[in-house]
Subunit: 429 residues, 2 copies
Amino acid sequence: MKYSGLVGRLLEGAGAEIGDVIEVRSGKETHSGILMPHHEFSHPSVITLKLANGYNVGIRVVERTKVRLVSRKEAKSRPKQALPRDPSKKDVAVISTGGTIASYVDYRTGAVHPAISAEELVFSVPELMDLCNVRAKVLYSILSENMKVSHWQGLARSVAHELNSGAVGVIIPHGTDTLGFTSAALAFMLRNLTGPVVCVGAQRSSDRPSSDAIANLLAATRLCVEGDLGEVVVLMHGETSDSFMLAHRGTKVRKMHSSRRDAFKSINSEPVARVEGSDIKFLNEHTRRAKGPVELKDKIDGRASMLHFYPGFEAEHFDLIAKKVKGIVVAGTGLGHVSEDIVRSIGKAVKDGVHVYITTQCLYGTVNLNVYSTGRDMIAAGAVPLGDMLPETAYVKLMWAMGQSDDPSEVRKLMLTNIAGELAPRRPV
Amino acid sequence: MKYSGLVGRLLEGAGAEIGDVIEVRSGKETHSGILMPHHEFSHPSVITLKLANGYNVGIRVVERTKVRLVSRKEAKSRPKQALPRDPSKKDVAVISTGGTIASYVDYRTGAVHPAISAEELVFSVPELMDLCNVRAKVLYSILSENMKVSHWQGLARSVAHELNSGAVGVIIPHGTDTLGFTSAALAFMLRNLTGPVVCVGAQRSSDRPSSDAIANLLAATRLCVEGDLGEVVVLMHGETSDSFMLAHRGTKVRKMHSSRRDAFKSINSEPVARVEGSDIKFLNEHTRRAKGPVELKDKIDGRASMLHFYPGFEAEHFDLIAKKVKGIVVAGTGLGHVSEDIVRSIGKAVKDGVHVYITTQCLYGTVNLNVYSTGRDMIAAGAVPLGDMLPETAYVKLMWAMGQSDDPSEVRKLMLTNIAGELAPRRPV
């Protein structure tokens, strides 16, 4: 935001703009630093400066405060460089979609810019180029909360193209907010993967000294070049320090913390692999690289909804949504339960031809609708339990399955078949 | 379900009913066991028997199969006993609501019966009576997925009554599915607690040898009698064995596994206390017993909804729900984000007078709407971030806050004030 009033006049008098270095003298105190934008929560007569030590300071100005322009902000210049190519090295594709990992903080203004180019991203981790030739492209430049089904499809097509034209693996820098949804979608849409498809994010933007982007990108590259893996994984920090990274199966992973670097956890499953320096250790069964070509099954029917049940959930609300969609994934309580009135709503929806599948909002553990009367009533109403499948993965899979077939029994068969590690074989209760 | 067709005729001919011990002879094979109800998934000509080893077996019958009645099921007799009273001991109230902890498996039929009396529950753990006089009553006998706002209110009134008439603590046996919602509701409705209010559940019914009910009830009783605590807590197993129990703050607890005994976890907080044998160890800051009397603030306005954001969430669905309610708690992605179109829907809802509060579906960590443009747009649209508050707790609190005041600014003030440990003081980002 811009400054107004007295502050605006003082800055205008000094010819100072946001990003310039200025000096503010008020009585005996003098501060100099980069002029930051006015913050909406700040008092209108406060100037915010970023000091040389990186901290911001707010200075209350009065009529006799003196403001002096020390130096103009530099014109932004980010040279466009071509990536080098070494014929003795393998090709890895980097398909950037945006998010924190592909953003940088402008230290002059403190703003986060999402539009780093794929080349810039690669140049920020030059070690990548020691391991492989990087084919870098920016497919999208969006915050991951704005990802839609169509973005998943474009991404799947791009991944298939890269693998089918010689890349040994694909790295997808992506915002972390919905990374687990995208990885699940890719896992269902892509078959016969000839190499790893590594979705990678960062919790701190890639130009910050504390960024986790570099370690994640480096481990992802190593997995692409050296790992015998034909699956979609999410690779992020295994703990808060840079010591080791974990590759989580794309259908079994969830962001479980709003800010920690090790926010991503495998749920109801061990991670696929651990990458520590140059060492790749597989921790779980996994699918090896296929001969190819990579097959694309990118039809998705987006007319689905995911509903979390809770006490006080109005059956009327359930009915309203059920009328708008073709499929519903319910995240029930405990073993997958909903209240009696919602059981009735499920019955009505199923009669109207809506697919209703059941998962648990506990996240950990499996659903089981055979233990209590509620569960048995849900089955009688036509709800289908999905074992240990994550609600988010089930929602993505349902849209994908509805895209594959219009036949409800075929959709059901797909939902109950393990396709990409999303569903564990039934365990005895 | 009853048997029909050939099986029905054979059973009728033998005079056998569900629960009787029968012998089934088919060719050279003879099986005997308890006649179980017909299962809807079984073939109509299969008889299901529970064998002496506890396993069920299905026997396909043909015309020449012989069925013989071996012995009648015993008439169920559960003597009603009065609980003893020792004037030298303190009073603890047990207010039963139902759920697995207050149910028993009928081993003859395999069915789970929810309607154990409070006395029966106490007699199943006679050690309780060594520690205190138990005032037992059954307030409800329902599965916790059927709990409504009105049940929370009835429970709060009953707790206040027990504490204000001399009980040193209250134990609430409750189904585990929505235990965290009830504990949060009680925490907001009850003030100046003169003793612990311990919500306690079980993942295995209380008459099973593997039940966790006994250990949980015993630890809850100890906390009521000996713990200097004036808070609502959820007490469950700390690990899968009976070694120690954890008392979690009622507003900071969530069922994180569909079936494990240690399913309940404190989120963004340490548990309040650990109970191991007779040892109570406090692990966190806590409120001590108040002088009383217990104050009841039991007004709740149920016109709220909790919506989990995900890619593909239709703005139209958000708008539909927003028109039906007075308040919405959004569980956003990451730091609390939603997509651009949902930001617009939030703006519209707020303009129409709907309270919109933001939490994170990551569950762990705090929301922060000041880091990315999406968050700042959400704030501009009128959404209010709720720090590290659990989505479920925020939903319960919003209904409670709307019950306390019709003034939106008063509701907002209540939401942003820590009332029962639900909201940590703001931490630097």
